[in-house]
Assembly symmetry: C2
Homo-oligomer: 114 residues x 2
């Protein structure tokens, strides 16, 4: 995989994370998993406005983005946060903004030259 392909892959993954976190109920699920730790579907549903089925769907979307993963325990399914992709996405955002900030700095230097 060339460096350029690697960069594209990173951005693509970051995009799926963004799209996953762009939904309000999903973001609140992530926040709750972040502070409350691993929880079952019904536990997550109890503090939510929407149906259990809706919660399940959202968790599946989050899993698709690699943000959470589940393990079965008896009759329940425990969902847990997966921080790696979140950190990757955070870094991607950081780079995009810094790249532009540096461009701005270069521009300032250029403008102030005369």
């Amino acid at each position: 995989m060339s460096p350029r392909d690697a960069a594209t892959a990173t951005v693509t993954q970051a995009r799926s994370v963004f799209s996953a976190l762009g939904d309000e109920t999903r973001l609140s699920l992530v926040a709750r998993l972040s502070s409350g730790g691993p929880q079952s579907i019904s536990q997550l549903t109890s503090r939510s406005r929407v149906t259990r089925q809706a919660v399940t769907k959202h968790l599946d979307v989050l899993a698709g983005a690699g943000v959470v993963h589940d393990t079965r325990r008896g009759r329940e399914r425990i969902w847990e946060l997966d921080s790696t992709r979140l950190l990757d996405a955070s870094r991607a955002l950081d780079q995009i903004s810094r790249r532009w900030d540096e461009a701005l700095d270069r521009l300032k230097i250029f403008v102030e030259r005369d």
Copy 2:
């Protein structure tokens, strides 16, 4: 504004940024503005697969999330990246993942105790 309200506001803003960047064409617009600097609508359209009107709509969405802003120059409209919100969102993501990582660490310590 209470600290809790402030936190909620931050998350809400971050969410709108995520939702804005969740779209492929929008994310590529942001990437191009990041590396290529300020550009007009038609400039941005020329390197895009979609129509000028589509690009315009996407830029409006990005502006709504506070990620870009525009200035008029004659008959054209120049769009520029706005890094503040991007950095805020990046930090929010970082915190969510770190909060969970620390919880994991505490758990490990607890488990290894016996």
